[in-house]
Amino acid sequence: MLKQEFTITVYTENQIGLLNRIAIIFSRRKINIDSMNTSPSEIEGIHRFTIVINETEEVVKKLCRQIEKQVEVLKAYYNRNDEIVWQELALYKVSTDQIVEKVKVERLLRKYGARAVVIRKDYTVFETTGHREETDGLLEALEPYGVIEFVRSARVAIINASSGFHEKLKEFEQTEPGELVIENEFLDKQDEVFSM
């Protein structure tokens, strides 16, 4: 089986140390994490990890089972790139003088869908979001004028299917051993059952 990019989405409790528990599942097997993002999810109190790795589907499937085995993980599933919409955000700090003199800023911003976040006498910060090629493209375009700082965020991804996470989960559950999370009677009654 060929290695390819997979995006793993993990729904978890918000618990100190869980990031480490998830990270060591990869490092123990000497698998590099290309990017990792944690954020709140559509369900209150539930966190969402978005992890990008380059591996075979067989390995990714096993990794998801190991992740799901962790006590504070509700669900882990994986997608190919054609099954998701994803974005990365990038920031570019360049010298304002250089930009004003030498670049047709307007064209650049239009071409890369970027905007200026900060404009100061000494520097300007541009921001763009997109796939890797797009954020790389602006970096390349700016490089001749000297990029003082560049940073790119981890990938965040949402699945293509209109039904969203719950429906996708149901699909997974057909071949997976667990109960449906959506049917978990406690999930929506957080306040009655748990106090954080």
Partner: protein, 579 residues
């Protein structure tokens, strides 16, 4: 840090509360969870808990060990024979790091433990304070769950979770690190509520009936079905369900090292042990069966040998409670997720009664070859020097299969598991997955506390015994009736065997010297004797077993004896060698 505190919908106004310290609350939780025995060692950061324990001495038993590794192995032995959760106390820093080997052992062998470690005051965390180590991060890969408590009010709910997680589903070790301030802090302790649900945790997968039906169909159509079973049968308390299943289906059954004793070793359908030093038939016929039914086992590499030549011809039915085990090493044709206590009866109901006589005959034929080429020479050595197999065979005569045998790791372990007889479940206690030398002595101590009415015999090699021999002090102090057999071949025998077979007899650092074990035992006020001659063996075993208290028997065995059969590393199970 946010903790989940289970708030049951109980009329709160009527609830009684009382002011307790975190330490006292911890012990109240233990009483509610019916904890009987704690294995531990005090130190600075856990002193408030030990101070509270002073008032609870009449209500629970604390066993003072000689090293924290001894405590955790003892708790493992206790858990494995009793089916209850083993409890460990250790202090911060070195106390906690000394638990790591035992945690890893319990993790890989699915043993339920709750370990409590003391920690420095919360305000000192991260300051490199005296005896501060990052215990949570050190133990994360080797615990099913761990948690640090910095506020006493968390103690009841976190401990409830700890007990629930340790024992439910696929069991495992849980470590709770409690800072000293939380041990001292007083709070209003409400009535204890055990945990029965954690929303992100599903201990048992849902059983899918269509897979059970599919499995039954495969079994009914099979001409040469073969059952292999592991500790899941014992952990799931499914011994009866398993017996019913094989007896109705008439399928030959072989055990993994940890599955051993789940059915009596002389059961007519039992064909022996799988794996590297397992029996001849089960290994060879793994590659001949048409349907392989794996129950509560995880296809460890010591069982499968070379994976790409493992049971390729067979359809595989895998029953396991842990979904991550399905397809991990061996791809299953039919995955039967679930607790085998529930899935086995469903399967039994759907299968036809059969006997598979011709197929059984094949196992018998292989057994005959093994008897002639392997077992006979082991039991009848050409010289005057005892073999390990002879000792275990003689021991069987006395125990009649009723004793708990706790083995260490190495040749003596393999020989014991090859030749020991068992009538009861939870009798074969050994470090399987991790292969921890030094396990036997402390685990036997714990086993005796867990099953005080049963005979407990630790069997160790001269090497492994020296790794934890300080626990003789624990036996002395607790006046525990544990028997110890050291099978002394004056070598690190298993490594030596490999060096002989695969490294051209280059014996690199396997020649180990030992103290006079009998004199050593005497220093701990433990009786014992040394056996050199065959003529003395049975009398010595008898004397040991009839002795009122602990007894150490050092038995000199052949220096360069090898354990056979053997599946050499990198070979298929059907390439097993008889000599």
């Amino acid at each position: 840090m946010q903790t989940l505190e289970v708030k049951k919908e109980i009329t709160k106004s009527k609830q009684k509360t009382r002011k307790l310290s975190g330490s006292a609350a911890l012990l109240e939780v233990f009483l509610a969870e019916k904890v009987e025995t704690i294995f531990g060692y005090p130190g600075g950061a856990i002193m408030p808990i030990y101070d509270a324990l002073y008032d609870y001495q009449q209500k629970m038993n604390h066993v003072l060990v000689r090293h924290e590794q001894g405590a955790i192995h003892a708790a493992q032995g206790y858990a494995r024979v009793s089916g209850k959760t083993g409890i460990v106390f250790a202090t911060s820093g070195p106390g906690a790091t000394n638990l790591v080997t035992g945690l890893a052992d319990a993790m890989i062998d699915s043993t339920p433990l709750v370990c409590i470690t003391g920690q420095v005051y919360a305000h000192l965390l991260g300051t490199d304070a005296f005896q501060e180590t990052d215990v949570i991060n050190i133990t994360t890969p080797v615990t099913k769950w761990n948690y640090q408590i910095t506020d006493a009010t968390e103690i009841p709910s976190v401990l409830a979770k700890a007990f629930y997680i340790a024992a439910s589903g696929r069991p495992g070790p849980v470590l709770i690190d409690i800072t000293k301030n939380a041990q001292i802090q007083e709070f209003e302790y409400e009535e204890y509520q055990p945990s029965e649900h954690i929303r992100s945790y599903r201990p048992k997968p849902i059983i899918r009936k269509k897979f059970v039906e599919e499995a039954a169909r495969l079994i009914n159509e099979a001409k040469k079905p073969f059952v292999i079973f592991g500790q899941g049968v014992i952990l799931g308390a499914a011994e009866t369900e398993f017996k019913n299943f094989i007896e109705k289906s008439g399928i030959p059954a072989a055990w993994t090292i940890l599955g051993m004793s789940a059915i009596p070793t002389d059961h007519p359908l039992a064909v022996g042990m799988l794996g590297m030093h397992g029996n001849y038939g089960p290994n060879v016929l793994t590659n001949e069966c048409d349907v392989l039914i794996a129950v509560g086992m995880r296809f460890d590499d010591r069982v499968t040998g070379r994976l790409d030549k493992y049971a390729k011809q067979a359809k595989v039915i895998h029953l396991d409670i842990d979904p991550a085990e399905i397809d991990k090493n061996v791809k299953s044709t039919v995955p039967v997720w679930g607790d085998c206590k529930e899935t086995l009866p469903m399967l039994t109901q759907l299968i036809e009664k059969k006997t598979h006589e011709a197929w059984h005959q094949k196992f018998k034929d292989f057994q005959k070859q093994e008897d002639e080429k392997c077992i006979y020479p082991e039991m009848h050595p050409a010289d005057d020097i005892l073999s390990m197999g002879e000792v275990i065979d003689a021991l069987n005569e006395f125990t009649k299969g009723d004793a708990i045998l706790v083995t260490d790791v190495g040749q003596h372990q393999m020989v014991t598991c090859r030749y020991a007889k068992y009538n009861q479940s939870k009798s074969n206690i050994t470090s399987g997955g991790l292969g921890t030398m030094g396990f036997a002595l402390p685990a036997a101590i714990g086993a005796k506390f867990g099953a005080p009415k049963r005979e407990v015999i630790a069997i160790a090699g001269d090497g492994g015994f020296q790794m934890t021999l300080q626990e003789l002090g624990t036996i002395m102090q607790t006046e525990l009736n544990v028997k110890i057999i050291i099978l002394n071949n004056q070598f690190l025998g298993m490594v030596r065997q490999w060096q002989e077979l695969f490294n051209d007899r280059r014996y690199s650092f396997v020649d180990i010297q030992s103290p006079d074990f009998v004199e050593l035992a005497k220093a701990y006020r433990i009786d014992g004797q040394k056996v050199i001659y065959r003529a003395d063996l049975k009398n010595a075993l008898k004397e040991m077993l009839e002795n009122d208290g602990a007894y150490l028997l050092e038995i000199m065995v052949g220096k360069e004896n090898n354990v056979f059969p053997m599946v050499p590393q990198g070979c298929s199970v059907s390439e097993i060698r008889l000599s």
